[in-house]
Amino acid sequence: MAKPGTEAAPDIDVENKLKEAFARGWQVIVWNDPINLMDYVVYVFKTVLKMDEAEASKHMWEVHQKGKSSVALETREKSEMLVHRLRGFGLNATMEQAR
């Protein structure tokens, strides 16, 4: 055990990197496709992402009109889980680190 006053200084670099990683996070992106129905996409957003009707509809329209929508910003693990669940419902979901 280190004597009082001789503890190792916190690794500022590691702390900064951790802060940066959490601040950047990972975006979950849903891409447009010709098959999934609009109401179905709204239902999946409500079920998986716990969005309310208005927010789910807003993202569904963004997917439809712009080709994609960023539907969540989470830690890597949470984003992975969301991608798995969205893909389980047949949506074309991917993730990328926020820039």
Partner: protein
């Protein structure tokens, strides 16, 4: 088909005889697709089932490594999903085979079971679309005007399954 919410967590689905037979036929085909060995799949179908964890370009080697790990986990999760859904398909078919009455065929399911049925019917739509290469404009056409018979049947099935999905979602659709 009609759908009725019995209580907050349970639903009753009622199918006329011909719709029940159609759904069971779809599930049987889906079951065969779920149990297809990935090694036997075409590269395109394999890619469809594996999925891509990202479309972006990793900015650094660490991010690249994390995405490679995440891709591997996605492939494993998708393999497991197919196995779970194969079991569900078998349960649905068994339920149908054991039913005393099939006209109409009535099934009581939990919300989770209903969600899985919806997702599986959507899997079938996506697989049909994958096999025939459906585009946005195909989906806007009147299927009866599509000259190629196999393509016309596939698009009709995609449409009909979409109808079933919307009926099941009916109570949850609140379009302004």
């Amino acid at each position: 088909m009609t759908t009725e919410q019995i209580d907050p967590e349970n639903w009753r689905l009622t199918f006329p005889e011909h719709e029940a037979a159609f759904i069971i036929n779809v599930l049987a085909r889906l079951g065969r697709q779920y149990q297809e060995d990935p090694k036997e799949m075409s590269p395109g179908l394999r890619a469809f089932w594996d999925g891509n964890i990202t479309k972006g370009t990793a900015a650094n080697p660490k991010e690249l490594g994390e995405l490679a790990d995440a891709q591997q986990l996605l492939v494993e999760a998708r393999t497991e999903l197919r196995s779970q859904r194969l079991n569900l398909v078998e349960n649905w078919i068994q339920e149908y085979e054991l039913a005393e009455t099939r006209d109409p065929w009535q099934v009581e399911v939990s919300s989770a079971e209903r969600d899985e049925l919806i997702a599986m019917l959507n899997d079938r739509r996506l697989l049909l679309a994958f096999h025939i290469g459906v585009t946005e404009s195909d989906m806007e056409k009147d299927p009866s005007h599509i000259p190629d018979e196999a393509r016309r049947h596939a698009i009709l099935e995609i449409d009909v399954l979409g109808h079933f999905i919307l009926v099941m979602l009916g109570p949850q659709i609140h379009r302004p």
